[in-house]
């Protein structure tokens, strides 16, 4: 643990840029632990500081905390603790989930199913489900849940959505509320038209509900294409988040920002190890199911940038 800490300390001293971290739900105590750990090595920043911090070098690297899905515990547990510690967060909400309020997300239903029925057919393997378009996945999970009489407990704040009132409260108290699609569809598995519509509708709904423009969009499960990401930018957002588990450096583009996913139940030393490996720019597996091919993608991006920049000329700053 001490060794990993020192390695991370060393990396943080030499590297420019920082990290965007991705959580889903954290209790107040977990939030406090996490912030205390990160504050030793990073400047904890808000969303609006991100473009500036990418351009200029700070004394320490930055860290932005993001929370996906818009669960009620984000508003009742995580955000109040963040406010107490003076750290702004970014909360990505699934718009139909918040508007409806009575239909759990598919993976919470699936988790309930797994707890009750440990051995499921191959067609219900999690990796298989993530390759299906949203409607097909929903229908398949719902059908089996109905057969066994199981559903996710909407009384649980880690399962139920926050209300739009709570989302507005977060924005008023200095956090950023971003869009995370309408239905938590994995957009690359949808038809192109459907995927573009998911982005557009969710960005518009967040803007309408908050009464201010939606500034950020995060891809569910992290799966993205440039066309979809740039469509989100065209819809008015400033930043687009993926789940490529690597460091955000000055060459990173605001329309495809990497994020390192951390889970509350993971031991502290593993968090630190993960952050250290992410800082080295490779090796972690992308939780979106594409493994480590982001390393190839980033290599191609660097090659394209260096070919586009004539010798002796500074590279163009990241798009903002």
């Amino acid at each position: 643990m001490i060794l990993i800490r020192q390695l991370l300390e060393w990396v943080c001293r030499v590297k420019r840029g920082g990290l965007v971290l991705n959580f889903h739900t954290l209790s107040a105590a977990e939030t406090r632990d996490c912030v205390e750990l990160l504050a030793c090595h990073f400047d904890l920043i808000g969303h609006d500081e991100l473009p500036g911090r990418l351009q200029r070098r700070g004394k320490r690297p930055f860290c932005l905390l993001t929370f996906d899905d818009g669960k009620r515990s984000n508003a009742t547990e995580t955000a109040p603790e963040l406010e107490r510690l003076g750290v702004p967060g970014v909360f990505y909400v699934v718009t139909d989930f918040l508007s409806d309020g009575s239909t759990p997300l598919w993976f919470d239903r699936y988790a309930a199913l797994r707890r009750a029925v440990p051995v499921l057919p191959a067609a219900l393997d999690r990796r298989v489900l993530k390759l299906l378009p949203h409607d097909l996945r929903e229908e398949r999970v719902r059908r089996v849940c109905e057969r066994f009489g199981i559903d996710a407990a909407l009384g649980d704040d880690d399962v139920a959505p926050m209300s739009w009132q709570q989302a507005r409260g977060l924005a008023e108290r200095g956090h950023t509320v971003g869009a995370h699609t309408q239905r938590h569809a994995i957009l690359t598995t949808e038809s192109r038209e459907r995927a573009l519509d998911e982005i557009e509708s969710s960005v518009r709904t967040v803007g309408e509900q908050l009464g201010q423009p939606c500034k950020s969009f995060a891809f569910p499960n992290g799966n993205y294409t440039a066309k979809l990401a740039l469509h989100a930018v065209d819809c008015g957002v400033e930043t687009v988040m993926t789940t490529e588990p690597t460091w955000v450096d000055p060459g990173s583009r605001l329309w495809r920002l990497p994020r390192v996913q951390l889970h509350a139940d993971t031991p502290r030393w593993r968090h630190l190890a993960k952050l250290f490996v992410a800082a080295s720019g490779r090796s972690l597996r992308n939780p979106d199911g594409t493994g480590r091919i982001y390393v190839d993608i980033n290599r191609r991006a660097r090659r394209a940038r260096s070919q586009a920049t004539p010798k002796g000329q500074l590279p163009t700053p990241p798009r903002s």
Binding site: P121, A123, T188, E190, Y224, D288, I293, I297
Partner: protein, 277 residues
């Protein structure tokens, strides 16, 4: 637009039904139209030896040897893996349950283009036939339906025609080949009037199998739309067929190796570049 008619559909299949084929049949059965299945035991009445001799004459000994080697060394194994994946993706077990419960009429025949098949189709007098699986249909079969015989070609015709079109698209880095076409069957191979073209999104992490899966979901919906067009009494719109056309057949060793090197598409430029363009 006139009132919709209830059509009589005939689905032409060969051998045991796979998960993607069951998906197509169930979508047809779910529509308001009447469905009869003509299931051939074999695709061709010609013996294996004769077919081999014909291939030898058509493509030459080197290409034939390369195709056989590619199939034996790589193709068969990949096909088995792909079949397993499609079983999980389409949920083959539940499709089979649903198909058995439907109890749709099935006419068993010996071969795809044989006399029995012709008789079965003539007797059922379909308005529209759909080639769900099997080899090349001969005119004496595809000319029987009153309105059209349709084919689902997994490739964007006429840009790419023939078999293995999606993998060819990955091997030759041709994104414009990846997709599927609903077209009328005529005497050529994938040359008939194209009624619908669909293309999945290409994304990092995709393989030829995930692309096939998503393409199949899209093209089966497109097929249902074309049939609904016929049912409403108007001919479906025929798409522009202009532009260069490439015909590709079974792959030899080299394309298989190219595909393997790209992790069946996972590390191919055609999918990785989608993250950057």
């Amino acid at each position: 637009m006139g009132a919709s008619m209830r059509l009589h559909l005939a689905a032409i299949t060969v051998g045991e039904l796979t998960a993607p084929q069951l998906w197509t049949l169930l979508r047809l059965a779910d529509s308001e139209h009447r469905l009869t299945v003509v299931n051939a035991r074999r695709g061709s009445a010609v013996s294996g030896r004769k077919r081999l001799a014909r291939r030898l004459r058509d493509v030459g000994p080197l290409q034939l040897a390369s195709r056989l080697l590619g199939r034996v060394l790589i193709g068969d194994r990949h096909e088995r893996r792909a079949r397993d994946l499609y079983e999980r993706l389409f949920d083959g077990a539940s499709l089979r349950e649903r198909w058995a419960a439907l109890d749709a009429p099935v006419r068993r025949v010996a071969t795809l283009n044989g006399k029995q098949a012709r008789r079965a189709l003539t007797e059922s007098a379909p308005d529209v036939a759909v080639r769900v699986s099997g080899g090349i249909l001969q005119e004496r079969i595809f000319s029987i339906p009153r309105l059209a015989t349709l084919n689902l070609h997994h490739g964007l015709a006429p840009a790419i025609r023939g078999m293995w079109s999606i993998p060819w698209g990955v091997v030759e880095q041709r994104a414009d080949w990846i997709g599927a076409t609903v077209h009328a069957v005529d005497a050529g191979i994938d040359t008939g009037k194209a009624y619908r073209r669909v293309a999945p999104q290409l994304a990092p992490g995709d393989t030829i199998d995930t692309l096939f899966f998503r393409t199949h979901l899209l093209v089966v919906e497109a097929l249902a739309q074309v049939i609904d067009d016929f049912a409403s009494g108007r001919d479906p719109e025929v798409l522009d067929q202009a532009g260069p056309s490439t015909y590709r057949s079974a792959p030899g060793v080299r394309p298989w190796l190219t595909l393997l090197r790209s992790g069946a598409g996972r590390r191919a430029s055609i999918t990785l570049d989608e993250a950057l363009r």
